[in-house]
């Protein structure tokens, strides 16, 4: 089967990649573009470890075709930190110990990153609803929820100092 070129903006950079029509976005990212921060867990749209940001929405990249990303803006976990400086959401996961094995973490970070733009000052319950598409087998979620609450505070503080 012949390959097709797909182009999109990935973590701020214009990117082009040759894929088969059937190539899933997660495979294009991991195998063609070496962006292995986006994981594959269930491969059946349930666990959320493959979550990326596509034109300002969280999507499960195991259930999107690479060709559906044509012309779009993509952010993966590799795009969160600025140089050596962690994104406020990443910093909060460190501060609150929001991970154990780390397998689900990249998906959690990407969902939390978008969720806190949808709802900058959530309640704990809203965090649980907002992250309900992401599963974790280790933490029991407690510290993940704390980390997202802390990230919300961090982001509010940053917004205050910038305004």
């Amino acid at each position: 089967m012949k390959s097709q070129k797909v182009s999109f903006t990935l973590n701020g950079k214009a990117t082009e990649v040759a894929v088969e029509d059937r190539t899933l976005l997660v495979h294009a990212l991991r195998e063609e573009l070496n962006m292995t921060g986006t994981h594959i867990g269930c491969d059946t749209t349930h666990c959320g470890v493959c979550t990326v940001d596509l034109d300002g929405e969280s999507v499960k990249s195991c259930t999107v075709l690479a060709r559906q990303a044509q012309g779009k803006t993509l952010t993966t976990v590799e795009g969160l930190a600025q140089g050596k400086e962690l994104h406020a959401v990443q910093a909060a996961f460190m501060q609150e110990h929001g991970l154990q094995c780390g397998f689900c973490t990249t998906g959690m970070l990407m969902r939390a990153y978008r969720f806190l733009q949808e709802n900058p000052t959530p309640t704990e319950e809203q965090v649980r609803w907002g992250l309900s598409g992401n599963l974790c087998r280790c933490t029991g979620y407690q510290n993940i929820v704390k980390a997202v609450m802390r990230a919300s505070e961090n982001l509010q503080a940053i917004a205050l100092t910038e305004s």
């Binding site: 190539t23 349930h46 929405e57 999107v64 598409g133």
Partner: protein, 288 residues
């Protein structure tokens, strides 16, 4: 898991869609949000050789409200519905049910049109559409027609849609959207499909229901209305006896398949429970 090979097409208007569907008749499928179709293709339960993506067909998007109807483009995502201004007031049943579909990521991709057209008895929108007396706008190269939700669902993955026909829009009468409603969905965890769910609308005056529509999810090969239970409630004052009798009649209409969510007996019992709770929600004095 990787789907079998197929050719991806990305038309930008309906004429191109219809041309592709007729050129590849029998081999093509349309792709909406892909959140039912792509998983099936990854499992190789579906192996279309042409996939016609509807994402860039602008006329299939957008939500409009006029004096008497809510008109929803088939390619509106579940989250588009939730984000539409005043949807909670305009059509509270649709709003409530949509909030309980899957999870945030799935709701960003999955469309109302795909949820209906898929014909999966486990999907929530079919029962919601039955309860709201929705009218479906269908279109093919041969022309347009309107089919009522009541006539649309034929069986598991079987609907009134012809192979070369699209669901373009969903029309919900505002009169129906404004009725008293109930929606109850039992699921194992947040984000799961229903073990059993009930959507209903009705009027309620002087202790008596009228215009009752009761629809059930995941309790038979297709989403369906519990007509006998509706009849009973339409013709008798509401009290404990008539509620119990309506629940009994609705349960008799169920023929669920056994699966990981439970056996037939359990699911049927839960159907009754969901109906009872939805009915109490709709008729309690402080609701709506």
């Amino acid at each position: 898991m990787i789907p079998s090979h197929f050719n991806y097409h990305n038309p930008t208007n309906l004429a191109q869609v219809f041309a592709l569907l007729s050129e590849h008749a029998g081999e093509a499928k349309v792709l909406a949000g892909g959140h039912s179709l792509l998983p099936m293709m990854k499992f190789r339960f579906a192996e279309p050789t042409h996939l016609v993506d509807l994402a860039d067909v602008a006329v299939l998007k957008g939500i409009k409200v006029n004096d008497s109807n809510l008109l929803i483009g088939a390619m509106s995502s579940e989250n588009d519905l939730l984000r539409f201004a005043n949807m909670e007031q305009l059509c509270p049943l649709l709003f409530k049910a949509t909030q309980l579909i899957a999870d945030p990521q799935v709701r960003n991709r999955g469309t109302i049109g795909g949820d209906i057209a898929h014909g999966d008895p486990g999907n929530d929108q079919p029962a919601v559409m039955l309860a709201l007396n929705a009218q479906f706008h269908l279109e093919s190269s041969q022309g347009k027609r309107i089919v009522a939700a009541d006539e649309f669902f034929h069986g598991t993955y079987q609907t009134a849609l012809a192979a070369d026909e699209l669901l373009t829009a969903i029309e919900i009468p505002l009169e129906q959207a404004n009725k008293r409603f109930g929606f109850r969905k039992l699921k194992r965890k947040t984000g799961d499909f229903a073990t059993a769910a009930c959507a209903l609308t009705l009027n309620f005056n002087d202790g008596q229901c009228s215009d009752v529509r009761i629809a059930l999810t995941n309790l038979a090969p297709k989403s369906f209305r519990a007509y006998q239970a509706e009849w009973l409630l339409n013709n008798h004052p509401l009290n404990q006896d008539t509620i119990d009798a309506a629940v009994e009649l609705a349960m008799r209409a169920c023929e669920p398949a056994k699966d990981l969510r439970g056996d037939a007996q359990y699911k049927t019992k839960m159907a009754g429970e969901m109906l009872k709770r939805a009915l109490l929600d709709a008729t309690s004095s402080d609701s709506q």
